[in-house]
Amino acid sequence: MQGYIYPNEFELQWSLLIVLYPYITGLVAGAFILASLERVFNVKEVQPTYRLALLTALAFLLVAPLPLQGHLGHPERSYEIFLTPNRQSAMAMFGFVYAWYLAVVLLLEIWFDYRQDMVRWAQEAHGARRWLYRVLTLGATDVSPGALKFDDAAGRWITIIGIPSAFLLHGYVGFIFGSVKANPWWSSVLMPVVFLFSAIVSGIALVLIIYMVTSLFRSRPVDMRCLDKLASFLFYAMIVDVSLEMLDFVHRLYESEESITILSQMIESRLFISLIVLQLVVGTLIPLGFLGAFSPALHRGLARGSDELRRLIYLTSAVLVEIGIFSIRWNVVIGGQLFSKSLRGLTVYKVELLGLEGLAMTIAIMALPFLILWILVRVLPPWNVAAQDAR
């Protein structure tokens, strides 16, 4: 501890698990927005990743409540958020945004897109799998051209609704922090917007990584046009994101409000590695440089590279981007609690190794969506393009 902190501020309230939560919901929103590029804006090149992006979003969305539950003092009472939500509380309303997004947007979109295939798989499969597919179709087995047209139209409309819903999903998480007037590090109009765009960045990067890795496992060639397009979208999204972050930074320095002294001290001491090194250099500047130099979609890229080189650059950049976005979440959540609201002192956060809120649990929670995705890919293979071919 350094300087003066209120006695009750000694221990941090929101730990590593709460860093994980906006990271995961960000991946969900970003992956979905990437999928919507193909569906609504007809970006044909990223079509190979469409279903994969949706399944990725679902896998991560299912895991998203876990860090919250692990962090609550009384997770067995968490249902109260749905029973007696305080309409003035951003956190309470978020429960409904999450439920809306899961049930009405993501599940429905996946259902409409896969329905035709699920009907076919129900007929082709045997035993438990056949029963599984039948249940998944909910008995809606009409695959006449009219019904399929309806599926397509419904999917389109859900995606259209889904885009602002995805904005709401992660923008709301930003608002949960941005609306806390007591905390000058969090309280900002830009917070929901920065969260949203960093979510888009992380989602695109995640789908890029998963697409490359699954292609490797399946021993299939990567569609380079798709990959180049993903990389260019990642680049554009990063430009917007870094512009917003720079705007926040410049604005703070310029207005130089009372909190600037302690916040500068915090950045220079407690957050130096996570902010300057990881978020800025490793997570933003280096990937931007790589992508800008090697991406052919960006005006015939400064450097030309073979397909293999570009794949390596893209994969590296995407991984660095994920590290950078995780650092952003860390800097927001943990950073906001490292300085005292008296603006006179700093405290420390010691990450536990074991325990419900420790590093081991964090790693386990981050691994779980990949396991779920693997199951989803087995049950609902995204490589089966019957519905997409029809479009």
């Binding site: 003066y4 902190i5 209120y6 006695p7 009750n8 501020e9 000694f10 221990e11 309230q13 929101w14 919250l68 962090h71 609550l72 003092g73 009384h74 997770p75 009472r77 968490s78 109260e80 958020i81 007696t84 939500p85 305080n86 003035q88 509380s89 951003a90 956190m91 309470a92 429960g95 009907v119 076919r120 007929q123 082709e124 039948r134 008995g139 087995t141 009409d142 695959v143 006449s144 009219g146 949960i176 806390v180 007037k181 007591a182 905390n183 906001g336 609690q337 005292s340 609201k341 008296s342 603006l343 006179r344």
Partner: protein, 272 residues
């Protein structure tokens, strides 16, 4: 693969859908409503008679009170009896980072450097100040939950576990709090803490259990110099009335518009 060859048992229309489907849909919908009506009515609970105020406290009417506290900085001697009494009265953990109320000491030296400290919240009093240079000003500031009239903590609670009573006291419902700690983040004054064993949010209750019996909070009871004054914020004859009339009072962090009900007389500009 024959679409008609379905063994799920559900009726599977083949070819163009017959118009009877709409009728069936409407029939099903009506049946659902008929079945659901009692459930819906049960869900819309008819408002019960408004509670009479804390049951068992005969004669206590919360609508007759709106509590506040006054603190005179020039009277506080930093003895810490308030901190100790509060911990005893309210079973607050005795470690050094859980306090309902605490006392801060400000030392402003002749160069304008400000040093603030609160060793164990002031529970054991204060040692001599740790400064070599001359002191320009130095004083003690008791802090506690301000029981704001526009409380940001109540606003952010997702489930309604923290609330402000009709008599102006912000309380936490131990059995309803889910322990999300949003209220602790939202409090600008650092007044809330997380109970290490009950795993719920906790804070100063203004000794509500004493107020309903017509007593003053424990910290006010034991303050030996009268630095803490307790009473009603509205126009009623209590010691706080004189305090508010005779002193130029300030509140902490007025720019946040939390409308605190703890008023400080002779508050120095360096106090946060």
């Amino acid at each position: 693969m024959n679409p008609d060859d379905d063994r799920s048992g559900a009726p599977l229309p083949s070819g163009p859908q017959p118009a009877v489907d709409r009728r069936r849909f409407v029939e099903n919908a009506l049946k659902a409503c008929a079945a659901g009506c009692p459930l819906i009515l049960a869900a819309i609970r008819l408002p019960a008679a408004v509670a009479q105020g804390p049951a068992g406290q005969a004669g206590y009417d919360p609508t007759e009170h709106l509590y506040g506290m006054g603190i005179d900085i020039q009277r506080c001697i930093g003895c810490g009896r308030c901190v100790a009494a509060c911990k005893a009265e309210n079973d607050v953990p005795l470690d050094d980072h859980h306090f309902n109320t605490w006392v801060e000491r400000y030392v402003i030296d002749d160069n304008g450097e400000v040093t603030v400290d609160s060793p164990n919240g002031g529970f054991d009093g204060f040692p001599q100040p740790d400064t070599e240079s001359e002191i320009r000003r130095t004083f003690f500031v008791p802090k506690l939950c301000n029981h704001c009239a526009n409380p940001p903590c109540v606003q952010v609670c997702p489930v309604g576990a923290t609330f402000i009573t009709p008599d102006g006291v912000v309380l936490v419902d131990d059995t309803y709090c889910i322990g999300c700690r949003y209220c602790i983040q939202a409090c600008p004054y650092g007044a809330r803490w997380f109970h290490p064993t009950k795993h719920v949010a906790a804070k100063c209750t203004l000794c509500y259990h004493r107020l309903v019996k017509g007593l003053v909070p424990a910290c006010v009871e034991v303050c030996p110099t009268g630095a803490r004054t307790f009473g009603e914020v509205e126009h009623r004859p209590t010691p706080l009335a004189r305090f508010m009339r005779m002193n130029e009072v300030q509140v902490l962090k007025p720019h946040l518009n939390t409308r605190p009900k703890v008023y400080y007389a002779n508050l120095d500009g360096e106090v946060r």
